[in-house]
Amino acid sequence: MLQLRLSAAQRGVLIAVAIFAAMFAVYGWKQPVGLTSNVINTASNKGALLALVAMAQTLPVLTGGLDLSVGAIFVLSNCLASSIVVGDPLSTAVGVVTVLLVGTLCGATNGIIIVYGRLQPLIVTLAMGAVYFGIALALRPQPGGSVNFELADFMTRSTYAVPHSAVLLLLVVLLIWIPYRRSVLGRAAFAIGSAEQAAYMSGVPIARAKVLAFALSGLLASIGGLLLTAVTYSGAAKMSIANDYTLNSIGAVVIGGTSLFGGVGSAVGSIFGAFVMRTVGDLLIVFDINPVLQPLFVGLVLLVAVCAGSLRVLRIKNKLDLYR
């Protein structure tokens, strides 16, 4: 007899996958043209943008922090990419590497200030988010710019109905998330999120693990910014985009089964969480609900997702356990 033993994180991923599959099935069924490869590709591109930002959010959350600057790093990367990812293949490649480096640097700066400045992640990333957004404004006072067309087309196209953006996500999981998850510092991040004091006592390298988590978060957000540039062929420093992605990334993380108190969760869950969040918008369209209601529904999904975690409150017998 096969024994199915799932960790809390795996269960979270499965729930997110199931919700997404159900929602996407309804979407495909109500969609007048059906699930053509075009429809799937558009959905994948839209979902992958949020999925990358949500993965960026996951890493700090796993250590027990929160990153309110992922949206700003995403926008900054978009603005930077729209200026430097152009021209011949060599200068395009240099541009891509520069964008990713800048993103990583932004994330690392957050981590360094938080760890060595001994400040709260929330307020540091809130303030640094303003700084990154200000730099993005300096780069792109007006929306515009361009991007290497071949690269952009390649990133957003699909081959045999397999969207390249989905492949990009898979590559990020295989090349960044899984090696990180298995590394010493990756495991340290989980330990910190579970019990920082205990992790410190057992000699876990707390400072380095936290800085790495934030740095990788910046890297993932900048990959997202790069993809956004490929999707829109331009850059725009809009506060509403930054805020929207930051908010939705937190929602995606929660839906993906990652605990906001740290220590439990996975980036794969966040990917499906992101696709769930994006499918909410698509469902509104096929059910002919006024699109201005989208923030309302996204907010409601978020509230339901956090409250689902509160069901444990009802099961607790000793009221004192509520107050950790």
Partner: protein, 335 residues
């Protein structure tokens, strides 16, 4: 007797508050070097007038932070307060709408705060996420209410009077409102059971619960006050601009939290003085005002770099907050 009172007053000034006030003086002196008018009474009163809007919303946010939570639904609670107050005539009818515009706007804020409190205190959802979600819900409702455009966005004469009039000569009404609200809050925090409970819950909710206090109710009240204060700011802002508009609260989230924390309130709750928040609010208002008066982008334009003014507002602002927090907001290593 008076020595005793002086002593109590003096105890309100902790180290962070003193540093914050010192920073204000330094900022004003630097500003005066660039622009002598910085030290004129008109300019200072005008700054306090602007600061009052931030001060009112920061009052509520401070209570929530003292409780060990946070309220990220500030932007659209401000928006809801302003838009509901100006839209009251359309919703309640012309005869009630004009009279009840202000209480109606504030009541909408209280409702948002009430839902926040229910989620955080009773469902034990993390405040950060729950209030972010409420922010999106409030945004959705407001955008739906206006249908993407503004049906009725004019402020009533009373709202206008509240925001720009002078009940006491020389003191703009919003400043007066902030002074009264601040005095009541200081009294509440220092002298009443509710105030003591707020500090105690921020320190150790478990212990307060064990001593027989309904801590959930206190947290709920904290969030309701925060919603009320944010909506009141929205009403004042709508009166100030003579109209309400979408995203009117967006520029307030970071400054509010920054003001409270720069004023020495512990982000994790339990510690902080109201006078510190006052210092933080004034500090941030003067910083923002200086950036628009000094216009650092001028110097860059001289170098051939055309940078938007907003760049400096964001970058300098974030950098100064980090610098000041590093100066005195560092956490103790508790090991």
């Amino acid at each position: 007797m008076s020595a005793l009172k002086l002593n109590t007053l003096f105890r309100q000034f902790d180290q962070a508050t003193l540093i914050a006030f010192a920073c204000i003086v330094v900022l004003l002196l630097i500003g005066a070097l660039a622009e002598p008018a910085f030290l004129s009474p008109q300019y200072l009163i005008q700054q306090l007038h602007t600061a009052a809007f931030l001060g009112v919303v920061a009052t509520g946010v401070m209570l929530v932070i003292l409780l060990g939570h946070i309220d990220l639904s500030i932007p659209w609670t401000i928006g809801a307060g302003g838009m509901m107050a100006t839209g009251a005539t359309g919703i309640l009818g012309p005869e009630f709408g004009v009279v009840l515009a202000v209480p109606f706007g504030i009541l909408c804020g209280v409702t948002i705060g009430f839902v926040n409190g229910l989620g955080v205190a009773y469902l034990r959802a993390p405040a950060m996420i729950f209030t972010l979600g409420m922010n999106a819900v409030a945004q959705g409702l407001m955008v739906y209410h206006t249908g993407g455009f503004a049906p009725q966005d004019r402020a009533t004469p009373f709202m206008r009077e509240l925001a720009v009039g002078h009940l006491v000569p020389g003191i703009p009404n919003p400043l007066l409102i902030w002074i009264v609200l601040g005095a009541v809050t200081m009294f509440m925090l220092n002298r009443t059971t509710l105030g003591r409970q707020i500090y105690a819950i921020g320190n150790q909710e478990r212990a307060v619960f064990l001593s027989g206090v309904d801590t959930r109710k206190v947290v709920l009240i904290g969030f309701m006050i925060s919603g009320a204060c944010a909506a009141a700011t929205g009403v004042l802002l709508a009166g100030w601009a003579n109209r309400s508009y979408q995203a009117m609260g967006d520029p307030y989230l970071l400054p509010t939290i920054a003001a409270v924390i720069l004023g020495g309130t512990n982000v994790l709750g339990g510690r902080g003085k109201y006078i510190g928040t006052v210092a933080g609010v004034i500090l941030i208002t003067i910083l923002q005002s200086m950036l628009s008066v000094v216009q650092p982008q001028r110097y860059f334009a001289g170098l051939g770099l055309e940078l938007p003014a907003d760049t400096f507002r964001q970058v300098v602002f974030g950098a100064v907050i980090i610098a000041m927090l590093l100066l005195y907001g560092r956490q103790k290593v508790s090991r």
